[in-house]
Amino acid sequence: MLLREVQKILDAEVLVGAEKLDMEVHTAFGADLMSDVLAFAVSGCILLTGLTNPQIIRTADVLDIAAIVIVRGKKPFPETLRAAADKKIPILSTKYILFESAGRLYEKGIVGCVEKVGGSRVFL
């Protein structure tokens, strides 16, 4: 699916990276705990989160996460937007809650970047 379709499904506003909406995405991870994102998210996935601080960009950059969707209508800090523009990581903002966002994307074919946690380390 294109990131553009993710934007439509979630009725999301594109805050950073309008030029990257034709990027292909297939998987997602959702969490507000960056330690869990570091532990389980896989490169190329979309990160759904309710956090808005620059650490989400640092985390996404470390893992090569494709794009970030900020849920619950939150607006990121200006330094978060600057960091995202700098690292060329698109940020979308949706008013849907995390559960609803995940459900709507799953229904259209986006799956978890990890289905189940097993073992101490997860690589795909």
Binding site: D32, S35, A39, T49, V62, L63, R121, F123
Partner: protein, 158 residues
Amino acid sequence: MWKRWVGPVSSCKKWLFNETFSVQGGNFDDAGRISGNIKTILKEMGIGNDVVRMAAVITYESEINIVSYARQGMIRLHMLPEHIEIEAVDEGPGISDIRLAMQQGWSTATDKIREMGFGAGMGLNNIRNFSDIFHISSDVGSGTRLKMIIHIQQEQDR
């Protein structure tokens, strides 16, 4: 800012790369910058994605720990032909009960740390889980020292 080693890995007998990065305690704005640098360095050296990810996660969580709890510290990346050594050493309060600190969910984090999405008692666990060899020692009142080793060849074996 950092030394770059350029040349074939096999021709080099000793360390290929050795760099120390200093981390200022309390500087939350900077947390994650060093791991970003280390990720770039390792990628440029042609290290595989799994190993880069392990090193990046380890150094990121280490930075967060130093920024969150210590006065200052340093992260050293030491690259050898067969493995990567990462040390994270801080001057801080130390950890009185390491066994407790290694338990998932045990945390002394402040609200500031939790607001950033850390401080849920996962950091040391993540560091251990992403290391092939993990060692921790701490002196209460002086600081904590972590040493991690990642084998470079593992992804071919996996």
